[in-house]
Symmetry: C2
Subunit: 256 residues, 2 copies
């Protein structure tokens, strides 16, 4: 199943995405079994981030080639960081580059695990069972800020820097797929989605030793490759079996 | 006014706190003007965190004496970090010390600004107007983890490490108060709440240059002084004009 959130008359509504239509749901599939209350065409839908997480977890260095490229040390333990909900935006909505961003402005294509259960002290098997489904994230990063600031507050959490979607796919072997990053239709990177230092289940086991995870929490799994993006570009991230997250890049102040 | 969230029959309910009673409200005062739908005695109430924020902002080094004590450099700009909602707990609920925490385990008494409006590109005056009210936070920290981990994920975000409450006070000159930290009734620190490098309004102006803040977001303002806490202790943080946030410390595995 593919579950999405779309805007209907300005309000967020959950939907089940089919080939041509989206069945509108009476509530969240993360916390119950909602009824179908209507149908809209998928074409032209206003896609929202498929979930607004109670906690937004993000893994940093998790792909061997990215770690080597960054000149960093391979983590010995799964350690997680955080991103902020204000930065989320949906499929097809613009990534807005702030006017005063200088230097490298980059896309990072990431697999995202969406948690469907409350869990603490999870075993690896419980961690597997707790993943409701998978979506795609773009961890847009302004590198000069990332290096000069004490935290990632604006380098990775400015408004629109966290596109997520287009939907949550519940039936996919996400770690057996390929992640492809395209800019204006041209492939800029492709890597084995599952070639991680620690997989999502290892992270969930580690996190829940001390922290309770809740339905709707998201865990962004890091990227192997990044690429530069600029206003005027369209950035597509495809993960096999899930779909394509596509976002145009706009300059700040451009209302279109 | 004092607004709180309490558990009634296991469900979170907003309330307006009086001398002896809590008036139960039909909804959140952050997003509307709720009706009074009942009354319960304040004595024995089950206090929840007064808000579960969309984004949980936390200021690090913000008091000159704390910065000197930490051997750190005074920040030249207001830069904010994040904490995670799983760690929140309410007034009188236990702080649970994980069994494998070693070394310094400390309380940090903090003023908390609760945002009441959606704002972006705020002026200082708009920032002032956007603060709905003030509460108290305890930024409980496990220092060995804080120093050895790449992020603050478990050192500051383990379950129960972020007591907040007891309520949101809307009518107080919060920066003109004194913050007092007591362990088992004995004063361990007292400092001028407003003696900050950057005040809350400066932070809100800086944050909203790039990030949209929303009703319910919280901004923890840092601490001047910290003190050790241990299972068996009761930690009280008082800020004049707001109230007292009190939490016992339990060892992990103690169900009481």
């Amino acid at each position: 199943m593919r579950y999405a959130r779309i805007a209907v008359a300005g309000q967020p509504v959950w939907g089940r995405v089919g080939e041509r239509d989206i069945e509108l749901l009476s509530g969240s599939p993360l916390t119950g079994t909602p009824d179908v209350v209507g149908t809209v065409p998928a074409d032209g839908a206003h896609w929202l981030p498929p979930v607004v997480p109670p906690v937004f977890y993000a893994v940093g260095l998790n792909y061997p080639r990215h770690i080597a490229h960054a000149g960093a040390t391979t983590p010995a333990r799964p350690e997680v960081g955080y991103r902020a909900n204000n930065a989320l935006t949906g499929h097809r909505s613009p990534i807005v580059k702030p006017a005063d961003v200088e230097g490298r402005f980059e896309a990072e294509p990431e697999l995202v695990a969406v948690i469907g259960r409350t869990l603490r002290h999870a075993t690896r098997e419980e961690a597997r069972d707790a993943v409701f489904g998978w979506t795609i994230g773009n961890d847009v990063s302004a590198r000069t800020w990332q290096h000069q600031d004490r935290t990632f507050w604006r380098s990775k959490n400015s408004d629109t820097f966290k596109p997520m979607g287009p939907w949550i796919e519940t039936d996919v072997d996400a770690l057996a797929q390929t992640t492809t990053l395209r800019v204006n239709g041209e492939t800029r990177a492709a890597f084995a989605t599952g070639d991680m230092v620690f997989d999502p289940f290892a992270y969930i086991v580690a996190i829940t030793r001390y922290l309770t995870m809740h339905p709707g929490d998201v865990l962004w799994m890091g990227a192997e490759a990044v690429c530069a993006i600029a206003p005027g570009d369209t950035v597509d991230i495809e993960i096999g079996g899930i779909g394509v997250l596509s976002n145009p890049v706009h300059p700040e102040g451009n209302p279109s």
